[in-house]
Structures are given as C-alpha cells and as structure tokens.
C-alpha cells in the first residue's frame, strides 16, 4: 500500500533561524531508507530525529507463524551483511532449548563462516564510510576483497548474501573441497592489500581531521544507550560477546578484543580496522584444524521446543545480537524478539551529533555502521 512520506515542517516552537531538513529516506549517505529529520542552525546540528519503518517487515510477527527450521532464513534479511551470524544466533537459541550437542566440525565451520562474514561486512563498511566522506575509490578496493569472500561463500553455502547455511544442530552442507585453499589464498591477498587501506584512508590527513573528535560517545553514555560492537568498544566498553560469553569454539582460539578509549568516529574506525586483522587471526588458527566428523547433529524432522524462554547472544559485525524465544511447547515460537545492535546504536545518533556540522553527521553515521533492515527488522 502506498504511503506518503511524512515531511516534517518546522513547527511553531522552532526559532525562526532554524532550518529543518529531511535527510532521507532517499539520501546517498543513509545507505537505505533511514529518514532523519535534522534541525540546523546555520550548518550546526541542533537535533536529529530518526524516523523509522520504511522497510519494517515485522519479522518478529512473521516468525510467529514459521517453524523452528523455517524462521532462521528470515533472519538473513535483518542485518544482511552478517547473515551468517544472525542465522547462527537463531540456530544457537534453538539448540539451547533442545539441548542439542553440535558436532565439533560444525562448530569450527560456523566460526570460520562467522569470521569471514565479519570481514566481508567490515570491508563493505570501510568502502561505504569512505564514500560518505567523499572518497569514492576505497569502495572499489574494498569490494575487490569482499568479492573474494562472496565467491567462497557462494561455493560452499550456495548463495552470496543470504546464505541460510546454519541449521539447528549444525550446518547445511559440508565444506566445499576448495574451501581451505581458497580461504588461504584470500588471507594472502588480504594481507597484501590491507596496507593500502592505511595509505588511502587511515593515514590521510583529511580523513583524520574529518573523524577525530567527531561524535564523541563517552563510556557511560555508550553503556546507557546500549551501544555494542565496535561502537561500544570504541568508547572503552568491553562488550565483545565472543570474549564475555564465548560460544562455539571462541574460547579455544586466541584473539584480542579491540578496545579504544577515544569514543570518537576515528576510534570507531580504528576498532573495525583492527578487528579485520583479528578475524584473520582467528581464521588462520582454525583453517588447518577443522576436525573431521559429522556436520549436523541428529534432529527430528519437526522441531518442538519445550515450554519456556530462551535467549542466545552472538556478536555480529555491528554488535550484540540477542534472540529471545518464548515457546509454548509448539512447533512455532510464541514470541520472538530480536535485539538488534543497530537499533541501540542508532538511538545514540541524536545524542552524539548535536552541535556538529552536517558533514560530521555523515562521518558519524558512517562510523556507526547502520544497516537499516537491522534497525527496522
């Protein structure tokens, strides 16, 4: 059904000098259909008000009518850049409820896929954020590496973006015979190219000036706003679910939780760039040590969860994803709640962008790494 865009005019309370601008729902920097109503004094932002719902599909309601095997595929469409991790969190929640033991091979495969997804997501973020700041070329360099990951995914999982590879009890297929070699090739390519990222963007004086001290989120605010993932960690909050509540084999691999204390856009940038290397580190440790064995635990054809409430958490590329299932003992969930990281991160946008310039808003939105379907669900 067609719905008219709400254009918010300056209300009577506003000072006559204020300029109200609708950024979005169609705007190059909002990466989707986020609609921000910003109130400006000159070029200085007085207030940012997000208007959501342009692609709200009510996934939570949809899931109430889908079985426990079926609902997982829908979650790929939430944060489409970390589709594997969303699926993983849902599969984990079902496994937790059924008390299924996932075979060791499937655990390792899941972690490998999660980390590859994280790299792909951060790559896309890096390119898109540079584009928000006016540098177009990094986007293409980022996509070159991301494309390699997508090809690997396509070969093993059968799709490039919405893989639906995680199923309750394990993974859908075994790894493709080429998988290990291709991942190793990718690591080599990536290590060759990552220095370019620093030359092109990280070290660039214009980029640093654009992001340093912009959109500062203090530690207390980050916790209060529920900011997780790179956004929270850039403010000094230790919130990596992989470290705090290790799932699968994250407690057996060594990696660092990247924490920066600055809280500004540049810190958020640094956290993600450093996380890329940590993900590579995890993959390097696991790629040669994939245990043999089953890829799926034995499950019944129709899954029935016991009555109760189940919550599982996973670290997506954007932060903590929570899956909260309330079961009445049937084949479909009674209620599902997805605690999406983007939603909480977005709520901090108004707070941190007040008093900065329009150009800063793009830097802040770029480094918050907003994926709109994740926020709207």
């Amino acid at each position: 059904m067609y719905r008219e865009t709400q254009i918010i005019e300056a209300d009577n309370k506003a000072d006559g000098d204020d300029l109200v601008i609708n950024v979005g729902p169609q705007h190059p920097a909002t990466h989707g259909v986020l609609h921000l109503v910003i109130r400006l004094q000159g070029e200085t932002i007085q207030k940012v008000e997000p208007h959501l719902g342009y692609i709200h599909r009510s996934i939570e309601k949809m899931c109430e009518s889908l079985s426990y095997r079926q609902f997982i595929y829908v979650t790929s469409r939430m944060d489409y850049l970390s589709a594997h991790i969303n699926n993983h969190a849902c599969a984990m929640c079902v496994e937790k409820a059924l008390q299924l033991e996932v075979p060791p091979r499937a655990r390792v495969i899941r972690v490998l896929m999660d980390e590859l997804t994280r790299i792909a997501s951060h790559e896309l973020w890096w390119g898109a954020m540079a584009m928000d700041l006016g540098a177009f070329t990094p986007f293409f360099y980022a996509f070159r590496e991301r494309e390699t990951i997508n090809d690997i995914m396509e070969e093993t999982c059968g799709a490039r973006l919405t893989m639906n590879y995680m199923v309750p009890g394990g993974v859908m297929y075994d790894l493709h015979p080429n998988f290990q070699q291709r991942v190793k090739n990718f690591i080599q390519l990536f290590n060759n190219k990552i220095d370019e990222y620093d030359d092109l963007v990280t070290g660039n004086i214009i980029f640093q000036n654009r992001t340093k001290g912009v959109g500062v989120l203090t530690k207390e605010d980050a916790i209060s706003f529920g900011c997780t993932g790179p956004v929270g960690r850039a403010s000094g909050v230790s919130c990596d679910i992989r470290k705090l509540y290790p799932y699968e084999v994250y407690d057996k691999v060594s990696f660092d939780e990247i924490i920066e204390m600055g809280g500004d856009s540049f810190s958020r940038y640094l956290v993600r760039i450093k996380e890329l290397r940590q993900s590579i580190r995890i993959i390097e440790q696991l790629i040669d040590n994939i245990p043999e064995g089953d890829i799926q635990a034995k499950t019944k054809a129709v899954l029935k969860l016991p009555k109760g409430e189940f919550y599982s958490r996973a670290e997506t590329a954007r932060g903590e994803l929570g899956v909260y299932i309330v079961s009445e003992g049937g084949t479909t969930p009674y209620r599902i709640k997805f605690r999406s990281p983007g939603f909480s991160n977005l709520s901090a946008l108004d707070h941190i962008s007040r008093g900065s310039k329009i150009g800063d808003l793009m830097a802040i939105m770029g480094t918050l790494d907003l994926v709109i379907p994740d926020i709207d669900r």
Binding site: M1, R3, Q6, L52, G53, H56, S58, E60, K61, S65, K96, D221, I223, S224, F225, G226, T228, V237, S238, C239, L244, G308, E309, F310, Y311, E320, G322, Y324, V326, Y334, R335, K337, R339, F343, S344, L346, S347, A348, H351, D376
Partner: protein
C-alpha cells in the same frame, strides 16, 4: 554472583519480588506500581545493572495481560537478571525507564508502537515505526490487517 546471591540482594531491595529460576537467568517479577523505584534501585544500588540489553513485551491474550520483559547486565559484575512486569492488557501503563537507561527511549517507543503499552513520563512517546495515524498494534496476537497481511 550466583542466582542465589542475586536473589538475596533483590529480596532486600524489593521484598515483594517473585522469583522464577526455570530459565537461564534469574527471572524476577515485580508489580507495575513498584517498578520505577525498583529500577532506580537496580541501576544505582549494589547490583549496578547499568546495561539494559533487551526490552520487549509479550502478549498473553488468554490471561488478559501484557508482560514487559527487561534483560539486564551489569558491566562491572557481569551478572544477568530478567525483570518481568505484568500489565493489564486493556489498559497497559507503566512508568518509563528511559531516564535511567537511555536506550529504553527507543525500545519503549517501539513497544508502544507494536503493543500499545503507554509509558508514563516518556519524553517523546510517539509511534516509531508505523505512521502516526496507524490503527492497532501489530504484534498483539489479535491484530488483523486484511490488506497488508497475507495468510499462507
């Protein structure tokens, strides 16, 4: 802190709390009227529950109530607790906690939008996702929308 210790603490702060330990974390049920004071106590007193990571609502049409569910973690002590508040389904009202946890501001607007729970003293209680003139609350179990919902 183990669940038992948490229980002891919470009983001191809120003697009327009802506990339920079937889930992964300790579930505490409190009355809607006592919620605001209890929330303040949770945040600022010994438990230091500073991170509200999930705020949602569940609709139970059979027993005619809505259940607000708050998931808390303390970033200092790393203990989790789940708080539940039962509300009347036809007249759902609860005090906001957006002044204690800023993240609640958005989450409460979402719950208001999708469940129709009114949060008293919320700074900006408007529909977040749907248009202002939308009728009904889609996540309620009895919501019907013949135009936009496709029955499979």
């Amino acid at each position: 802190m183990t669940n038992n210790e948490l229980k002891d603490h919470i009983t001191q702060g809120q003697p009327s709390a009802v506990f339920d330990e079937t889930g992964e974390w300790l579930n505490v049920q409190v009355e809607a009227g006592e919620w605001k004071a209890f929330a303040n106590w949770l945040r600022h007193d010994a438990l230091q529950m500073d991170y509200l990571f999930c705020l949602t609502c569940i609709d139970w049409p059979q027993t005619k109530h809505l259940m607000m569910v708050y998931h808390f973690t303390s970033t200092t002590f790393r203990h989790n607790v789940v708080i539940k508040v039962k509300l009347d389904r036809n007249n759902a009202e609860i005090e906001t906690v957006s002044d204690i946890w800023r993240t609640a501001e958005f989450h409460e607007r979402e719950v208001y939008d999708l469940f129709g729970v009114r949060f008293l003293h919320h700074p900006d209680l408007r529909r977040l996702i749907l248009t202002d003139d939308f009728e009904g609350h889609p996540l309620k179990k009895d919501f019907e929308d013949p135009v936009n919902m496709i029955k499979l």
